[in-house]
């Protein structure tokens, strides 16, 4: 049933993170995510993990807002980890140059090194997923568009992205309305029907959802053209906010984190932190 709280999209707020400039948040997200992707220094990753989770808390984001997407990502991550293990269970020992067997099972022999490597992968998820969610839930899509444009993305693409973000809630609402309409026609989708029937019935919702979305796109694009969207090479932004001290501070922090990764690279003589040496 439709619940407004479950909608994944920008929720206005007044925390420190909400007040940050969208460009700052985008830069921070990009730099820190890249840093976390590059490095396998467990100490660094643990620090960022804790930091990301604290930020989620600071921004006042509730579990029910993100529970669906988080569960989805967890399933996906587990599949990913299993696949990584199955394809090359010896990858860890090759990386760290030692072999501490935990469970001996031929091809699927589990080593401490492999587990440590997988732990690093898990940490990478925990670093970046909260940051992405944080960005989506605390950034006004219009300001996001203006900041994308600011860092060099064409304004048409920027605006398209922001419209798409804004329409996630609308499409969710549409989905519930259409689903209810289908059920009223006799397409039982409640718990009273079998799972197979419910899946098949859900497919019936997709067609009207696509049609109503196309109709929406058609109207909005006409409205935009009538008000000269795309007439010039550049456009200005009503909502653009200039940088403030806190934005410089957060940007500097992102750069600082990147520098740390570079330093760690030198100390570890590579991307990997090796506790088995």
């Amino acid at each position: 049933m439709q619940e407004d709280d479950k909608i994944l999209g920008y929720q206005p707020g007044n925390t420190f993170i909400h007040r940050l400039n969208a460009t700052t948040k985008l830069i921070f997200l990009l730099l820190v995510s890249i840093a976390c992707m590059v490095t396998y220094d467990t100490r660094f990753l643990v620090v960022i993990c804790v930091f990301s989770l604290i930020c989620l808390k600071l921004a006042g984001i509730k579990w029910r807002q993100i529970s669906f997407i988080v569960k989805f990502i967890i399933v996906f991550a587990i599949i990913n980890l299993i696949a990584v293990f199955i394809f090359q269970p010896t990858y860890g020992q090759e990386l760290y140059g030692s072999k501490n067997v935990l469970i001996s099972a031929g091809y699927f022999t589990v080593t401490k090194e492999e587990l440590f490597y997988l732990l690093n992968l898990v940490l990478k998820y925990i670093c970046s997923v909260p940051l992405v969610l944080l960005f989506l839930l605390t950034t006004n899509p219009s300001q996001f568009a203006s900041s994308l444009n600011k860092i060099g993305v064409s304004y048409k693409i920027s605006y398209a992205v922001s419209l798409a973000l804004r329409y996630i809630p609308t499409i969710q609402t549409d989905y519930w309305a259409i689903s209810a309409a289908q059920q009223a026609r006799g397409n039982e989708l409640s718990k009273k029907a079998s799972l197979g029937k419910r899946i098949k019935g859900t497919l019936n919702i997709v067609i009207p959802l696509i049609f109503s979305s196309i109709e929406r796109i058609d109207i909005i694009s006409t409205a935009m053209q009538l008000r000269r969207f795309g007439s010039k090479k550049k456009r200005s932004w009503y909502v653009y906010k200039p940088f403030t001290t806190k934005d410089y501070f957060v940007t500097a922090m992102a750069i600082f984190l990147v520098i740390i990764v570079v330093i760690l690279w030198h100390i570890n003589a590579g991307r990997f932190f090796n506790p088995f040496k």
């Binding site: 439709q2 804004r166 309305a177 289908q182 109207i219 909005i220 000269r228 969207f229 009503y238």
Partner: protein, 567 residues
């Protein structure tokens, strides 16, 4: 004076259509004029609008014959962007035309696209927001505003351009009566301030004529039927001939046997001559009307106790504490301001959203039933047909519910054909739904619900976007169903519909049920009219104008007489 708009032997045929939509039309409009472009749906009036703002030929492709000049520019040689400096369009559905996330941003949209610097842009936005009393709302999301406020935002968004032509595409379509009247007043005020040429596309003549209009251009079947001053046009029968409703007070005068040619000015009730002959005729006519027999059916069908629903914690005035009983055979209209909770009530009854209280049907608590099970008894036709339609062909769409209930194909065929005939869709039975207009799609969704033969049918604004002819067809048909025992509930902004067809009215304001009474009693209670954002009919004004004893009785007499015609 050089006309600002000229159509010369102009014809247009959409690439996707077999027939031309506009045929050899000729007219011109002078700067500063206020024109009402009227006609039934599908007449081509919107197509004329699309020529004026350049959507034809820049977005909608087709074959153009003759010439259309807007501010001296030939539309075939002008880009959409260039023309947008000349013509500002306020689209029909203000909800889906909002582009900005906030009111301020939306007003600024075209300025942003002109790459104006931020300071100047904020200044212009503030100026117009101030002018239209939107300053307090600048940071709100447009979608959270009331219907009238939305219209203001859309208007502010084009006024920043200061173009010489303002084009309104059905500005009244989604507004409650009070907000509609305010919009017409506002258009009038703004035109005087900015000296623009105003073109209003609308088929609700009476509402638009609440303020002065210079000319009415009447379109039917792609041709110009009339191009004359409102007063002259009202003296003819051209409006009704093409299926556009003429003002109620004019029809009342006609019914009372008054020769319209003897009335010099018909444009408003105020302008009618205070003659004693007219008064006499009206009184005689009123005394001759007989009340139709009221059937006495009082079997309770649907019982609502303390019904309510809140979408989220921040929602102001959520629907709450609704207590009422719907009787078998009732014909109920649900009215009130935009956002007062009318649609929420329907959705709660059908189980689309959760309910705080208790609803029972024939003494069975509905809480135990799924949406599907409730739908066996209660059919709901939603406001937006696109949210209901899931099949490609009309036949399949109407048959869907029956097929899901495992009815055999022969019975389905029989029932679907029967329903399609009733809804006037039988000739189209093998058409794809995508070929239908909005109004026709709406009828398909009504047919789809009718085919299931529910005991109660709830319709959410079934007549929005329908011209008078289709409106009459749908409503007469619903009345017939009602007489055969089906209980009908209609959400509407149309006061005529409420008065003429429904027997009982539920008025909502700010999430509360404020009245449950007869339509007449509702519309004659000043207090309720203001609270529910309704508007008195011109029939009442007419009766007051001629000092008739009891204006309410006059309104009632008129409605009774309409009903007699149908029977």
């Amino acid at each position: 004076m050089e006309p600002i708009i000229q159509f010369k032997n102009f014809s247009f045929q959409y690439d996707s259509q077999a027939e031309p939509t506009l045929r050899n039309i000729n007219f011109s409009i002078n700067p500063g004029e206020k024109i009402l472009l009227a006609g039934p749906s599908g007449s081509g009036k919107s197509t004329i609008g699309r020529c004026l703002n350049g959507l034809i030929p820049n977005v909608d492709h087709g074959d153009i014959q003759g010439a259309c000049l807007v501010d001296g520019k030939d539309i075939t040689e002008t880009s959409l962007f260039d023309l947008s400096f000349t013509t500002s369009t306020i689209l029909q559905d203000s909800d889906s035309q909002f582009i900005g996330m906030t009111v301020g941003e939306d007003i600024a949209f075209s300025l942003e696209n002109d790459c104006q610097d931020r300071e100047k842009m904020h200044k212009t936005v503030n100026k117009w927001a101030n002018e239209l009393e939107l300053t307090a709302l600048l940071k709100q999301t447009p979608q959270t505003l009331s219907g009238g406020q939305k219209q203001l935002v859309a208007l502010a968004g084009v006024l920043v351009d200061e173009s010489p032509i303002l084009l309104f595409d059905e500005p009244l379509a989604n507004l409650d009566p009070a907000a509609g009247y305010k919009t017409i007043e506002l258009i009038d005020k703004i035109q005087k301030e900015v000296n623009a040429t105003v073109i209003i596309i609308e088929h609700r003549i009476e509402e638009v004529l609440a303020k002065h209009v210079d000319r009415i251009i009447l379109v039917n079947d792609g041709e110009i039927i009339a191009d004359q001053e409102p007063n002259d046009l009202l003296h003819t029968d051209k409006l009704e001939k093409v299926g556009v409703r003429s003002p109620l007070y004019v029809k009342a005068l006609e019914k009372a046997g008054i020769n319209l040619l003897e009335v010099p000015d018909l444009t408003s009730v105020k302008e009618l001559p205070k003659s004693s002959t007219i008064k006499e005729k009206l009184e005689i006519w009123k005394s001759k009307q007989t009340e139709p027999d009221e059937l006495d059916h009082k079997k309770a069908l649907l019982k609502l106790e303390n019904v309510g629903h809140q979408y989220n914690k921040h929602q102001q005035n959520p629907l709450h504490g609704v207590n009422l009983t719907v009787n078998q055979g009732d014909f109920i209209s649900i009215v009130g301001q935009n956002g007062a909770g009318k649609t929420t009530l329907c959705r709660t009854i059908c189980g689309f959203i959760s309910n705080e209280g208790k609803i029972s049907l024939n003494n069975q608590n509905l809480a135990d039933l799924s949406i599907k099970e409730r739908a066996e008894h209660i059919g709901y036709v939603m406001q937006d047909p696109n949210q209901m339609i899931s099949q490609k062909m009309i036949f399949d769409e109407v048959a869907l519910g029956l097929r899901l209930r495992n009815v055999d194909e022969d019975t389905i065929k029989e029932k679907v054909y029967q329903t399609l005939k009733i809804c006037g869709l039988y000739p189209f039975r093998n058409w794809p739904i995508s070929a239908l207009s909005f109004g026709q799609k709406k009828r398909v969704t009504i047919a789809a619900i009718l085919a299931l033969e529910p005991e109660i049918i709830i319709l959410d604004e079934p007549t929005a976007g329908q011209d008078w002819k289709t409106y009459t067809e749908i409503m007469d048909f619903l009345r017939e169903l009602n007489e055969r025992g089906t209980t009908i509930m209609i959400v509407t902004h149309d006061m005529h519909l409420m008065l003429e067809y429904s027997k009982r009215s539920l008025a909502f304001a700010k999430g509360e049920l404020i009245a449950d009474t007869t339509p007449i009693d509702l519309l004659t209670d000043k207090n309720l009219v203001a609270k529910a954002s309704l508007r008195r009919t011109s029939l009442y004004d007419l009766a007051v104008h001629y000092d008739l004893d009891n204006p309410n009785d006059f309104v009632k007499a008129y409605i009774d007489s309409e009903e007699q015609v149908v029977k």
